[in-house]
Amino acid sequence: MSSLDVPLAEKAANPSAHRPTAARRSLSTRWISGLTLVSLLAVWWAVTAAEWIEPLFLPSPAAVLSKAWLLLTQGYMESTLWQHLGASLGRIGLALGAAIVSAIPIGIAIGNNRIARGILDPLIEFYRPIPPLAYLPLIVIWCGIGELSKVLLIYLAIFAPIAIATATGVRTVDPTKLRAAQSLGATRAQLIRHVILPSALPDILTGVRIGLGVGWSTLVAAELIAATSGLGFMVQSAAQFLVTDVVVLGILVIALIAFALEMSLRALQRKLVPWHGQSH
């Protein structure tokens, strides 16, 4: 995944400068990345085709693919792959929505208001460094083993990065822009709506990106421990019966989803904050 990150990041960093050389270089970097993936697949295929490794430890790509088809059509553990995927995405979507709705206003309050900062900053900084799985047992005791505890866990994991990034963005708003808006007659609410929020948007989106990454890993981990559906549950239960092809498939799907989330957020960032990184 990280090998694929490089060319995209590079392309985003210099969209217009030195176009011919950048295009050629980014093309060749992509080539290298593509080649790496292809050779990895080839090695996987070769070692399984030559039967150097037992299928129990590493099933062949073809076996994983056919299992994928089986999972899509018939399912595993009473749910199809789509249903497991839907369960996981539903949880993270719900948690992300709740985190965005609550963390952005709270981040603005922390960045803007001394008292809000005094109250909320230590609370967030206290729980943020704790690995979510460490407080999952407590959440399970309080909220049971149902959907609520998983969504709550992911919500907490996503909330902190978004709130902290928002507060940082709010605190680093260019004071001249604030003064400019004030001298045009802006009220406090208008300052937040028209100057502070758009100024902080690049930071907020970075916070969402980080939060979503943390949230996704937390979700899968939480499903490994306590769930009856979802990608993490699928991998975990398959492992207990040594159904290695499902395990490999699950891991690949989890990686693909994380990659897709990251890429779509980057695209969103380019679309929503085109001024970010421009010298103005």
């Binding site: 260019d174 001249t176 822009k177 003064r179 400019a180 808006a181 004030q182 001298s183 045009l184 007659g185 802006a186 009220t187 208008q190 028209h194 100057v195 758009p198 948007l201 904050v273 085109p274 001024w275 421009q278 010298s279 103005h280």
Partner: protein, 264 residues
């Protein structure tokens, strides 16, 4: 009839022993272009921040049309040294921003913004993004934005300080044209002596430690330009050169006085 009135203004930063400004009295009326000139540390920017309402004076009174100034407001438009435009809006929305804040309907505010862009020679630039503009163009958008809100006075904080020499001269001429057409009183601060002498109808010379007015000069070069004389002719006029040298001498005498000890 004076519009903006400063009566015995002093200002002090919290915790500082010396005031930044001491006993400043000024008035800015219609048809006036008041320029405050001074070296850095003379409190020019503090003076502008006081008038704009960004900071409160520690003593004295600032009034606009008889009403005391309390905090920033749309009746005092400000043009900043670095443009302070909003990059998430295009040029037209930036110019219309003050009207948007005031709740003016879109069609009406965009109409007004287009007029203001035409006034600063940027007609047709409305849909450009801020980062696609040059430094001089940004300052013109900043000027148009301040004017679009139709302020009673225009405050300019070293508006051309970051521009190259060619652009600066163009901008000075543009400012004089705009000033004449809109008839807004302008308060401008600068550290550029030639700019100050060229633009001012009244030049106020500030000295540091603490910031105070050491000389007031009524001038007419800006009016002569507005009346149609060319900038080159004015700037090579012996009277212009003489005035510039006089101001220069005053600035330097202050500086040497300041190094010895207060005299002014």
């Amino acid at each position: 009839m004076a519009l903006l009135e400063l009566e015995r203004i002093s200002a002090q930063y919290p915790g500082a022993a010396e005031p930044v400004l001491a006993d400043i009295s000024l008035s800015l009326g219609p048809q006036q272009l008041l320029v405050a000139l001074g070296p850095s540390g003379s409190g020019k920017t503090s003076l502008l921040n006081l008038i704009a309402g960004f900071v409160a004076p520690s003593a004295g009174r600032i009034t606009l049309d008889g009403k005391p100034v309390q905090g920033p407001g749309a009746e005092r438009g400000v043009v900043f040294q670095d443009d302070a435009l909003l990059p998430w809006q295009d040029v037209l929305s930036n110019v219309a921003f003050g009207l948007e804040l005031a709740g003016v309907p879109r069609a009406q505010r965009e109409q007004k913004a287009r007029e203001m862009l035409a006034l600063v020679d940027l007609a047709g630039f409305g849909s450009r993004r801020i980062w696609q503009l040059s430094g001089g163009q940004k300052q013109r958008v900043g000027l148009a934005r301040a004017l679009a809100a139709d302020p009673r006075v225009l405050l300019m904080d070293e508006p051309f300080g970051a521009l190259d020499a060619f652009t600066r001269e163009q901008m000075q001429e543009l400012l004089l044209q705009v000033w004449q057409r809109t008839a807004k009183p302008v308060f401008l601060i600068t550290h550029d002596i030639e700019e100050a002498v060229f633009l001012a109808t009244e030049l106020v010379l500030l000295a540091p430690n603490p910031g105070q007015i050491v000389e007031r000069l009524p001038l007419d070069f800006g009016q002569r330009y507005a009346a149609g004389e060319s900038a080159r002719a004015i700037k090579s006029d012996p009277r212009f050169i003489e005035t510039r040298e006089h101001v220069l001498a005053r600035v330097f005498s202050q500086r040497s006085a300041a190094t010895r000890q207060e005299s002014a």
